[in-house]
């Protein structure tokens, strides 16, 4: 099973993301509602890939990514930002932070799993 960690402060988005990702029978999905929660979960659960919402209160996506990278076991974990930001400059800035890709919001729940699968080695 491939562990996928999905981090988003919005509970309805987490719900649909979970159902969408579980369309891939190989995915073991875990949800976190904040960057802080993810920091408590990820070092121990060791996901194969992290899907990270950008706009979250208290600790946003970029701040969460930077803090996740302070953990040796997560330094190489691929991270994909989930964002509704469509401006090219904003997207480039997010990628420059070290994410391997971006998935736009709103995402298509019927293809999210396949899109995520494409990011896996």
């Amino acid at each position: 099973m491939t562990r996928i960690l999905y981090i988003d402060d919005e509970d309805d988005i987490r719900e649909i993301a979970e159902l969408s990702l579980e369309m891939d029978a190989e995915f073991d999905v875990r949800l976190c509602a904040s960057g802080q929660e993810a920091l408590a979960v990820a070092p121990h659960w060791k996901p194969a890939l992290i899907l990270l919402d950008v706009m979250m209160p208290q600790m946003d996506g970029p701040a969460t990514l930077a803090t996740l990278r302070e953990h040796e076991e997560l330094r190489s974990t691929p991270v994909v930002f989930i964002t509704a930001r469509t401006q090219a400059a904003e997207r480039e800035a997010l990628l420059a932070l070290g994410a391997i890709g971006l998935i736009g919001k709103p995402f298509d729940p019927m293809t999210l799993a396949a899109t995520v699968r494409d990011y896996l080695p």
Partner: protein, 93 residues
């Protein structure tokens, strides 16, 4: 995802539409730009995922305008179709 599961999620989105209407109307009345932006961002980023592309379509320009500091009357004008669609969706529950 089964069709049944998706419909359950759509139902939850419909139920929350009334809450969004109230919060958005209140924010527009008080000029609470932060809340307007927050609600518009949430709906922009989720509407289509739940099978309500019009919600995404109406929320995006409202979010952009709120972030750009548009005047209250502009925000109210942009919010009108979004509020109308949210009310329509809520009535379908």
């Amino acid at each position: 995802m089964t069709a049944q599961a998706f419909e359950l999620l759509r139902g939850k989105f419909r139920e929350r539409a009334t809450v969004h209407v109230g919060a958005l109307e209140q924010a527009l009345a008080t000029g609470d730009r932060h809340t307007i932006t927050s609600i518009a961002h949430k709906l922009h980023g989720s509407g289509s995922s739940f099978g309500f592309p019009e919600i995404t379509g109406y929320a995006e320009p409202l979010e952009a305008a709120a972030e750009d500091g548009a005047a209250g009357e502009v925000l109210r004008s942009l919010a009108e179709p979004l509020l109308a669609e949210l009310k329509r969706i809520a009535q379908a529950v």
